[in-house]
Amino acid sequence: MTGYLLRRALHAVLILIGVSLVTFMLMHLTGDPVTLFVPLDASPEDVAIMRTAMGFDRPLHTQYLDFLGGLVRGDFGDSLRHRQPALELVVERLPATLQLTFLALGFAVLAAIPLGVVAASKRGSGFSLLTYLMGLLGQSMPVFWLGLVLILFFSVNLRLLPASGRGSLAHLLMPALTIGTYSMAMLMRLMRATMMEILSQDFIRTARAKGLSERVVVFKHAMRNALIPVVTVMGLQLGTLLGGAVITETVFSWPGLGRLLIQGFNNRDMAVVQAAVFVMALMIVGANLITDLAYGVLDPRVRYG
């Protein structure tokens, strides 16, 4: 187990270095932080002075190695625009994004699993058809559109919820619903399909033949097995949710990591983008590890070595 964890940690380091390199290259390939920073009418001489002062006149590989050097010390450098350490900016916004992401994931899982289980056990019923439609709709509605429709309905028409911002629980509801709907729909469909497959297997027939109650058959024998693929996808969904956060945070003015990342990219604010992408990558790598470890709990046959 320890050896397994060590190997995974080494993989994580390699992944994070890879992510930082790709981010670095993409940022440099698509725009020049200096020209976006100075006024458009700055003279070429003034631009050159700024470029030197900001350190962007150095060769690319030197800039990248310096960045890696800083990284080892936990220093991503200062944001060009905010004039603050980039990591500080990211850490400041992390709670807002985590709050939103976990509430959305919680909503997705808590709604998806029971709905999927019931839909599978009542195959062919009206309820099953309804969940099928919900799944289809939930996965095909664009996050952006859903957010705006919710605002129009609950804020502008009904005046029930605040349209945007952060503060109370009321502020959280619409963004969490918006961001979690896709994952909910996808997990529910998966749960339903897996359950259906499992419910038609031999061991379930055996369990029923033993005279176990339907509840024990469904929830104890079938659901536990059906959860394995769902847990895998849940881990992957964290990435989707973080991606969705970028859009949802914009629609609902939620002061999180996603918006910082978008603005950082628009300004080619290298340090901010690096720090934000790094932290997001770290969360996804961590989620994947937890997912892999969760297999062991759900399926005693899984061994780490």
């Binding site: 698509t30 006024p39 458009l40 002075i49 004039r83």
Partner: protein, 525 residues
């Protein structure tokens, strides 16, 4: 009509101000409240709260280290500058009581006495020197550096007199000083610039209270403000990036002023009882630049004129911008800029004439050009480019339209990879034509794709002309040449559209700024 007389007024003020070495005294007598301030101070104590929603958060509350309007909107509440602009764009004395030119390269500023920063530190000549010096030090990499890099030295003469020495005549220095807000030297040196950036201390009408990043900034009235007590007690800037959400926040009464209302949604705010729309012609003009410096059809003035005749700017303004624009009068600046030639009219839409000119130039069988355009940078920019492409097709010009993200586009512009045509907007907040003409029509400048020795001489001469009347005359002559040579497809001057709650009284300004000091909460609320 009203606007025209205002423009003349602006010009008169300009000529009064900068003319050679005559002392211009703005406020006679000392100690009494400045009579030219556009807002009368509140009679009673400040009351109530207004919430202003912008699309992005301030990036820093250090006013010398950014060049962004949304950030400036917060900073102008906290800080003051030596000179300020009223809602018509006219200059009035800020922290400087008066100024004069000692010679073409030396300016003397007399500073207001008895002004204090929010922390009690006195405002004096040292503060002015400290502020300008930190912008001028390349080590600080201030994006405002290039705006005042013509300043050689800032000299403290006495506690309330400053000399600014420039390396060459710099007639637009007063305009440039409007956007250089003064920071407290002692506080800044003791605590560091990083501290100032999130704990701002100025001399302005509002004191800083709290900043929750990407969420809101809260300010409260500075009751000792030297221009008088603000009328509104608390000012909150909220960040609402998505336009539709901003609209919803205004419609539900959660915010009082919103920026950048999309043209097609303005009507719904106008027809509501709870909101109204305030518009101002902005200092930004939108145009299609032409690369005339490479061999090709655009070298020929007839082709360039044909493209102008081929475009129906009125139709673009009416249908794409829903009326929120003013066609350019076949010159690169708008009426609010010093140097605008009021005798010039927009190119008429005349596709017949356009086809004739193309035929004469040898392109009767049609012409293929490429055009670059940003997306999401200016009001309806992509839609405008598409309309231009559609209209040019009607006169036999096929456009390869290349629409791209702003960061990519800027890179292309700065590395001079533009070919044929490019859509661009140019905001000129100095209100003087030089800041538009020089970068675009002086050979060797970053944006210059129209080179002529005659033009270079004219632009160099006017750049160092300190007499404002003579300056206007010289600008007018240049406008005449440009109108004829048509180095741009002249499109329109952008209109800024704001949504305002009915409980608040506020008027949009041409410089995109929102001064809470000038806003009022209506009595019946």
């Amino acid at each position: 009509m009203k606007r025209r007389s205002r423009t003349r007024g602006i010009r008169r003020i300009f000529s009064l101000m900068v003319v050679s070495t005559i002392i211009v005294i703005f406020v006679a007598g000392c100690g009494q409240p400045p009579t030219m301030s556009p807002s009368a101070p509140a009679e009673e104590g400040p009351e109530g709260e207004i919430i202003i929603a912008q699309g992005v958060d301030a990036t820093t509350l250090d006013p010398n280290m950014h060049a962004e309007t949304p950030t400036n909107n917060v900073n102008i509440q906290i800080y003051d500058s030596l000179l300020m602009r009223d809602s018509d764009g006219e200059l009035f004395p800020g922290l400087a009581e008066s100024y004069e030119n000692l010679d073409d390269n030396t300016w003397e500023f007399k500073l207001r006495e008895d002004v204090y920063f929010h922390n009690g530190e006195a405002f004096d000549a040292e503060a002015v020197k400290f502020t300008l010096d930190r912008i001028l030090d390349p080590e600080n990499s201030s994006p405002q550096y290039s705006h005042i890099s013509a300043i050689d030295e800032v000299r403290v003469v006495d506690a309330h007199t400053v000399h600014i020495v420039t390396s060459k005549p710099f007639p637009t220095l007063p305009s440039q000083l409007v956007a250089r807000q003064i920071v407290p030297p002692k506080y800044t040196s003791e605590n560091g610039a990083d501290h100032l950036a999130s704990n701002p201390v100025g001399t302005g009408p509002y004191r800083f209270v709290e900043w929750v990043r990407d969420e809101k900034i809260t300010l409260t009235a500075n009751e000792d403000y030297w221009r008088g007590m603000p009328s509104i007690k608390d000012v909150v800037f909220r960040v609402v990036p998505e336009t539709s959400t901003r609209m919803a926040e205004l419609q539900t009464g959660a915010v009082d002023i919103i920026v950048n209302v999309p043209p097609h949604q303005a009507e719904s705010l106008e027809s509501s009882d709870a909101t109204y729309v305030s518009r101002a012609p902005s200092s930004r003009v939108i145009f299609v630049g032409m690369v005339t410096t490479q061999p090709g059809p655009l070298e020929d003035v007839r082709v360039r004129q044909a493209l102008n005749y081929g475009i129906d700017v009125d139709a673009i303004v009416d249908n794409v911008l829903m009326g929120n624009g003013i066609p350019l009068a076949s010159q690169p600046v708008a009426e609010i800029h010093h140097g605008f030639d009021e005798n010039l009219a927009p190119y008429p839409h005349d596709p017949e004439r356009a086809r004739e000119l193309l035929e004469e130039a040898g392109y009767g069988d049609g012409l293929r050009l490429s055009m670059d355009s940003p997306s999401g940078r200016y009001l309806m920019d992509r839609e405008t480019s598409q309309a231009v492409a559609g209209q040019l097709e009607a006169i036999g010009v096929d456009l390869d339209l290349n629409i791209q993200e702003w960061g990519v586009y800027v890179d292309k512009i700065m590395s001079r990879q533009l070919t044929d045509l490019f859509l661009l907007g140019w905001g000129n907040a100095t209100f003087d034509a030089d800041a538009t003409l020089y970068p675009f029509f002086r050979s060797g400048q970053q944006f210059c794709y129209f080179e002529s020795e005659e033009m270079d001489e004219k632009l160099d001469a006017v750049r160092e002309t300190m007499d404002m009347d003579l300056r206007a005359e010289r600008f007018n002559e240049i406008m005449g040449v440009l109108s004829e040579e048509a180095p741009w497809i002249f499109l329109h001057q952008q209109m800024d559209v704001y949504g305002v709650s009915d409980r608040v009284e506020w008027t949009a300004r041409p410089d995109e700024l929102i001064h809470a000091f000038d806003a009022r909460i209506r009595a019946d609320n």
